[in-house]
């Protein structure tokens, strides 16, 4: 058992290391175009340079601030409306069709409209991220409340629970697992949208770096920036996973 576990853990690492080694070797042997596929060592050197000259950190901060401001502006209202909609069938009847109509729209497509309304500055970018975060948070939260077994509400009522008590002791903890998966979706969406917006219209941020690297054909910078973006996405997921393990101890085992 333990041996296979260890093997499964190391296999992906070995696989990636193997691919990188072959890549490096093929480029140095001149069998692969260094323009399209710069050697991993070149990319690493570029990465180090971008890091030490503060180009990368500054752009990471720009992207992250869009992600988190957008997340706060979108996910918090999504959470609140989701809790309300999950609890009230009347609210659902009002908002469900609206959401069904708006949710499928690719959010990057509303950027021009948002720029007409909010101008071409920072506000528009954050607003688009916020709109994109709003929906996954709302939908997951409402589903989280709705999947709470009615028996738990009956228990609370039976013991004389008041509305606020029912909310804090049943609705919130009962929906928390799906709220957190909503948060994960919202974070991923926020990163996606922040990068997309930056590709199109920003002067700083990882997305604009990617675009700039393409326009000037600095492939090694392109790779370094892509790797950074991927690392951000992965660390978001790790953070939410950690949060989930901390906040939802009653579900950890079931997932494992």
């Amino acid at each position: 058992m333990k041996k296979t576990m260890r093997l499964e853990r190391w296999l992906p690492v070995a696989l990636v290391a193997g691919i990188l080694a072959v890549w490096e070797w093929q480029v140095s042997a001149g069998r692969m175009s260094a323009l399209f596929f710069p050697a991993p060592s070149t990319i690493a050197a570029t990465f180090a340079r971008l890091l030490t000259t503060c180009v990368l950190p500054a752009n990471i901060v720009a992207t992250l601030s869009r992600v988190f401001v957008g997340l706060a502006l979108g996910a918090i209202p999504g959470l609140i409306l989701g809790l309300a909609m999950g609890s009230s069938s009347r609210l659902r009847a009002v908002f469900d069709p609206l959401i069904a109509a708006l949710h499928p729209l690719p959010k990057i497509a509303v950027l021009p409209l948002i720029m007409i309304i909010f101008g071409i500055g920072e506000t528009s970018k954050v607003v688009v991220v916020a709109i994109a975060c709003f929906f996954p948070m709302l939908i997951s939260t409402a589903a989280g409340v709705r999947q709470i077994h009615p028996i738990y509400f009956e228990v609370a009522e039976n013991y004389g629970g008041r509305l606020l008590q029912v909310f804090t002791r049943v609705v919130l903890p009962g929906s928390l697992p799906l709220v957190l998966s909503g948060l994960r979706l919202a974070l991923n969406t926020a990163l996606l949208l922040a990068i997309a917006v930056e590709l199109v219209s920003a002067r700083e941020g990882l997305g604009s770096m990617i675009w700039f690297a393409w326009e000037t054909l600095r492939t090694e910078e392109l790779y370094a920036t892509l790797a950074t973006t991927a690392a951000l996405g992965i660390s978001f997921n790790i953070v939410v996973q950690y949060l989930t393990a901390k906040l939802v101890p009653w579900q950890v085992e079931r997932e494992g």
Binding site: H149, E154, A156, Y159, G160, Q165, V170, P249, Q251, E253
Partner: protein, 258 residues
């Protein structure tokens, strides 16, 4: 404390019509009495308990009682058939839940909850979550929670229905032991006749759907009780009588020729 059900009827409205679950249930129960209700599956036993608990409104009929609560409701604690304990609370918080809803402070309610957690033998699990417990242990949590809240009426809906025979016996004895020290009115639903005569002072036999009380039977046993009591001739006779009535109902329910 005494409560009376007068002609309780409950009709559920569903998408394709209505279901009459109860049709004129009348009975009374006294302080410190242990009443068992037996009836075939789907005859409205859970519905009846929820009406008494005030979780449902009767379509017709009423329940009278003398309340000691400020809002005039009957203070009851319902132990559910299953899934009654909150998965997101530890055993301690689950058991203290009723007190928490009553506004009892943390220290006090934990102390009182711990006392009952000890009585159901779960002291070692006070800080565990329900998913770490067996089904039987979870039902003990539900029972402890009900006793701690110190209700006027304890309502139990087949609390041991999904347990194996041995566990069931152990928990039945445990329940009687706790009840001996905390005498209160218990209305206990089951479809297990053995269980009914072992636990109850009085057994109410329900008819098949729509449910009503078909017969009331006094159990000819004193207390404390032990396992061998169930084999006494007068008890066997009572069991056979109940079984005869239920068999009729079940047959009618299955629409089989007699």
């Amino acid at each position: 404390m005494r409560f009376e059900c007068h002609n309780l009827c409950k009709v559920y409205l569903t998408r394709d019509g209505s279901v009459t679950a109860l049709d004129g249930v009348t009975f009374a129960a006294e302080q410190e009495e242990f009443v068992c209700i037996v009836g075939p599956s789907g005859c409205g036993k859970t519905t009846l308990l929820k009406l008494i608990a005030g979780l449902l409104e009767p379509t017709v009929g009423r329940i009278t009682f003398d309340s000691d609560a400020a809002d005039g409701r009957l203070r009851s604690a319902l132990v559910f058939q299953e899934h009654g304990v909150f998965p997101w609370m530890t055993v301690l918080d689950n058991v203290a839940f009723g007190l928490e809803m009553q506004g009892v402070g943390r220290q006090d309610r934990y102390a009182r909850a711990r006392a009952f957690i000890r009585k159901v033998g779960l002291s070692a699990f006070a800080n565990n979550y329900p998913h770490e417990l067996s089904v039987g242990m979870r039902q003990r949590v539900g029972i402890a929670r009900a006793f701690v809240a110190d209700p006027q009426v304890l309502l139990m809906d087949e609390p041991f229905g999904s347990l194996d025979a041995q566990t069931k016996l152990v928990l039945q004895e445990e329940l009687l032991r706790i009840w001996k020290d905390n005498r209160k009115l218990v209305v206990y639903v089951t479809h297990d006749i053995e269980e009914a005569v072992l636990l109850a002072d009085r057994v109410l036999v329900m008819s098949g759907r729509p449910g009503r009380i078909r017969e009331e039977i006094q159990v000819p046993l004193g207390r404390p009780r032990n396992l061998s009591d169930r084999e006494r001739p007068e008890v066997v006779e009572v069991k056979l009588r109940i079984w005869g009535m239920l068999e009729d109902e079940v047959r009618q329910g299955l629409e089989m020729p007699t």
